[in-house]
Symmetry: C2
Subunit: 197 residues, 2 copies
Amino acid sequence: MARKIGSSGPQTEAAIHKAGLRLIYRHGFAAASLQHLAAEVGIQKSSIYNHIESKQDLLFQIVKGHMDDLLHAADRDLPTEDSSPSERLEAFVHFHVLYHAERSEEMFVINSELRSLDPENLAYILGLRARYEDKLSTILRDGERVGKFKIMDARVATFGILAMLSSVGTWFKSAGRLSKEEVAAMFSDMVLRSIIG
Amino acid sequence: MARKIGSSGPQTEAAIHKAGLRLIYRHGFAAASLQHLAAEVGIQKSSIYNHIESKQDLLFQIVKGHMDDLLHAADRDLPTEDSSPSERLEAFVHFHVLYHAERSEEMFVINSELRSLDPENLAYILGLRARYEDKLSTILRDGERVGKFKIMDARVATFGILAMLSSVGTWFKSAGRLSKEEVAAMFSDMVLRSIIG
């Protein structure tokens, strides 16, 4: 059981999110209990409600937190539209692979528990996800417009490329034979060749 | 509730697998109950044990059934090594996309509930999965050997390509703007370009 950390403040909230993620990852949303969560964090179950309204709210906060962080990092790290589409695509591939290679539990929960979000929460999260997907689609369409990329369908290409890149979350091991930078370079090579006209 | 179909015979077993898949898809393995499963199938809970030993056994049978069917179909439908690596790769892409485009629930359960398999069952399933992955890796290595493909790492390329193709299970809609054949053609184009030397 985790060390007791008190029942209020942003530290507790972060601990609740972290333990919540872990519990949902292990047992699935339906089987995860707030009772168990409180025990993991080392606070009373009633104190949990100072931080989250419900188990549904916990899931929403976890998924929203991940998407907000991802969008923030992408806005900060990705090159502007001054760069060429190829440079922007290469940067996007590296960013996405490096960001996701060591967030396998978060990615798993986000992908597998969208089904457990209430309709309103789901719509909000899908909106954030669409904003992220649009970053890649925009690069692909810009490259097409200047005659650099040849793409049959930018939406399908976006879904396919994101799935390829995100797969690092399921098989990449930081102690494995390849570094995440090497994997990013390999995928960057494949993705660029797959669409350069 | 489903129509009563009696409590023995292969028809009941098929009904148990189908209802089990649906329940695990909706609630997750940990929260799915055999009580609920029996009600869905329309038999007594005790009769379930004529067909499965436990909930763990049910999950294993569902996942194993999917992998056996997939391997059988691949052995039947994919071209032999007489064909060129490019032809074999194109055929593999089409096969994988068409096979998975309309099996989203099965794919979801198989990918998300590997964590719920007992170690021995998991090892068996990962063995079947490796057999399937090897079909693609072999095509990639054969193409590399004859100087047709240029690949940085056949394992990474295999994982990336399979993830790209399998993504149809999460976003393809049979009533959508594209047919699964069109999606297969798009992915085939991208995959071939991504590795042809």
